[in-house]
């Protein structure tokens, strides 16, 4: 069942002589429960695609549908709420709020939604992420791997349909990287979520259900590679 559909997505930066096309007429579709890896050289447009999928940037043209909702036809506020409820982001540089503890960082999307937290679920998440004894620590008191786990926890907290991860292991050593990917895979499977992940690491890409290769803002010659 299709959860995400992209139609003729184009993103250009700059104007006139300085215009750069980061994404050029990209179309693709991703099914529910799928784990897709996006690969490509630096500057190929991977991150731009991910940001457009998550609704944090605006396309120059084209459409993105999540659960058949045309994301960029939504009003600003509706888009924020959709992002909060349907999308979970994991960043390379963790991007945690430094004044909040690990648990509070995780809870933030729920709190923004004025929703009541599912205590059992959060406890389960903390346990899954191995953060039970670290939940009251500030980000500055955590290691890189632990910070990324918090970031994953935050992405999962609201039980979103899609997890978008932008090189989540880019700053981590191989042991931590493997653990993080395992964790992501485990959780999307457990909670029936869709995972789209950018990576440079072919070993990680191999773990995906399919690999989308991007070169110069277009889906590569191999197109969508099913591995």
């Amino acid at each position: 069942m299709e959860i995400l559909r992209v139609e003729n997505l184009t993103k250009k930066y700059g104007k006139k002589d300085n215009e750069v096309t980061a994404l050029n007429n990209v179309s693709l579709s991703i099914n529910k429960g799928e784990f897709a890896a996006i690969v490509g050289p630096s500057g190929s447009g991977k991150s731009t695609l991910l940001h457009l999928l998550g609704g944090v940037d605006h396309p120059s043209s084209g459409k993105v549908y999540i659960d058949n909702i045309d994301m960029y036809a939504l009003k600003e506020k509706e888009l924020s709420i959709l992002r909060r409820r349907k999308v979970g982001f994991v960043f390379q540089s963790y991007n945690l709020i430094p004044v909040l503890t690990a648990e509070e960082n995780m809870l933030m999307p729920i709190l923004l939604d004025h929703a009541k937290e599912d205590k059992n679920y959060i406890r389960e998440l903390l346990k899954l992420l191995g953060l039970e004894d670290r939940k009251n620590h500030l980000p500055s008191e955590l290691s890189g791997g632990q910070q990324q786990r918090v970031s994953i926890g935050r992405a999962l907290a609201n039980k979103p349909s899609i997890i978008l991860a932008d090189e989540p292991t880019g700053n981590l050593d191989s042991k931590n990287s493997r653990e993080i990917i395992e964790l992501l895979k485990y959780s999307v499977k457990k909670y029936n979520q869709t995972l789209i992940l950018i990576t440079h690491d072919l070993n990680i890409a191999k773990m995906a259900d399919r690999v989308i290769s991007i070169i110069d803002g277009q889906i590569g010659e191999n197109g969508v590679m099913d591995l």
Binding site: V56, E76, R84, N95, V99, L100, M108, L112, H114
Partner: protein, 840 residues
Amino acid sequence: MKDYTAITTKYLRQHRKRTILTICGIVVAITMFTAVALIYYSILNGTIERIKKDSGDFEVGFVNLSKSKAELLKLNAEIEYGCVVNKLEVLQIMDEILADKERSLAIKAYDQDAFTKVFKPQLVQGRLPQNSKELIVDIRFWHILKGKTQSQTITGKAEQDGVEIERVYNIVGAYTTREIISGMTYPAITYLDDYADQGNQYSYFATLKDKKHKIDIAEQVARDTGTEIIFNKELLYMYRQGPDKDRNDALEVMIITIISIIILATIVVIYNAFNTSIIERIKHFGILRAIGATKGQIRNLVLREALIMSLIAVPIGVLGGHIGLYVTFKIIKGFSEWFKLGIYPQVIGIGTLLGIGTVLLAVLIPAISASRIAPIEAIRGNSMIKREKVKKRRGILAKLLFSFEGQVAYRNMRRNGKRFWLTTFSLVISLVIFIFFNNFIDMTLKSLGMVYENAEIEGCFQAEGRGRTETLGIDFINELQVLKGVSKVYAFNAYVGPLLIDKDKLNTAYYNDFLDKLKSKTVPYKDMYICEMGQLMGYDENAFNYTRQKNNLSMTYSDLENNNVILINKSESYNTEGKTILGNLTKYKIGDEIKIPIISKAYLETGEVKHIQEAIDKQDYLTFKIAGIIEKEDLLDESPKAFGIIVSNENFGKIIGAAGYNSVGLKYDSKEDSETLYEKLSNLGSENGAKFFDIYKYMKQNKDIMLQAMTLSYGFIVLITLIAIINIIHTITINLLVKKREFAVFKAIGMTKEQFQKLVLLEGTLYGIFASIIGSAVSYLLVNMLLKKSNPVAAYGIEYPTWPYVAGTLGIIGITFIAALLPLRKLNDMNIIDGLRIEE
């Protein structure tokens, strides 16, 4: 954490220093709002109380009433309360012992309410009258009476219906009043029990029930009852119900202006504080946006932060404003006469609302810009610096002045246009407020033209009919000299009348500026000008010696006796616009000759200028040599309207044709003598046909007013400056700290510690230099455009002080230097690698 908004309190707690600094700014602002509001309400209430004390607690007076009309008004539904007063009579005193002068009492009769509710005479001796045979008298008359007789009964003649009748009163007490005594007629009050129909000489003084439209209602009542009315205008103005609308609003306009300035200064501080804190947190807000926070939620976070800080600051500020004012008033005595301090709910309301309102207004823009942060920017890790449009600047002047470091510092400073102008703007505002207000105070003090402020004489006798025939003799002066409590006695003659100016010695520029009325008193005749506003002073040796010493004159009294004079050449007068002008009317120099006309009896009697013209025709004048020039008459600290000449008393006699002195001044041994001797000196004066003036009292009153005005004004400046300092330190510190990484790069590429310190300090100080150039120019324009226009002292002869410019400029450069010094320590200690790792 129960709510996403809890992030606010966490942020505030984690950034304690910044939070405290911002709260300090808000506290100072609320303190000022409270203090200004408290001053307003206490002046208002103090003045209302004083007016009620001085002129009575009534709003409207219905005058020239018959008994029946007075009775009718008592029952009028519009009137809350009132009293009946009868302008009874003027009693010519017949008692032999008191009749040495033409003394009389102006007697009014009060009903019970006039004594207890409306006029409340301030009894200082005895008791209030209880019937129409009893009288209380003005304390000055009481002293005269006590000096002459033990009797409490007084007999006099009064006129009733054209018939002279004899009356006897029993004096039962004395009261103080600010009523001005005309001639030798003293006020007195009796009890109105004989409420007979005595023609239209009753008045009914009333307070109206309605709080608004008092004038309209009073006029309606007057029309309905067919009566004449007078208003207690001063009191009505305090209720903003006076007849002149502009005056009704005057005090409020002033308060609103002051409060607006505080709001402006505070908004800049708080805006800066929040803006920098938001710039630092752009990434956090971006992340929140990325994980689904709406714009509104981000805005709420910032506004909540502001609200929490305001709520902490409100009680401290309101309390601070009250305590500050109480302490100030406690230290500086004399305030209590003018201010009625107290707890006014309005003051607390104004302090709170203005405080919170100002803060919310100040954070509105930062809150909106925080909510507009695009999540993509935070995710990409874009820094502010990368997004800045950096304009190429050369900074050649900075390089010339401060070498390479100066150039880099200048380019750094100008890199972010918005931040640069914002910082400069807040510095400029502080400087402009400082310079403008100091000029404003200077102008106000000059325009108050404080008389007697530095007078040498603390008490002065003036012979009745000054300068002409009645004078005080040497016996009187001798008697004073031995009086205990009197340290110095100065005898002199003062006469305002015609003096001559040679045509070529008239300062035409100043003369042309003269008000027409004054110009008509200085008219050309032949080769001279006759100036009828000349001030001629005849000094005794004591008076001369004081003046000589004060002005370092190198002449003796015998020089003065030998046809030398001292010229008082600084005049204080009015120009055609009615503004005060200060300047020299004559161009005489030391060594010049000056003619003084003999003042004939005919002129003294008629005041006709033709008698002086005749004197000129007959060359009936004396010629003197100017041996000294001074600016003002020092005994009384007075400036002449036109110009003045000091001659010896003997020469004065030759000019006017009178012996003796018309004025005798004295100085007390101590302050207390001014009080204890007053009664004795008044009597002494009265016995010798002279009026006694307690100048010390005026002097003290004026000095108090001056001190109060200065305390309030400088207090205001200090607080505004304090806000400015907080702002400057905050802005410069933040501006430097956000560039940690770049500074680390400088260090990494081999900048020495000294070079680095120079760079950082220059970056702070350049702001001060830049702001002082703009600020001084703006202030100069404002002073010239706004102050000079509204200044009651005309530009002519007035020098605007330059010290506020110098002090302001040095101050602002100094503060920016200190502001850069504070983060310098942190930057100096910074590890290069850590600095380089900082994510921008």
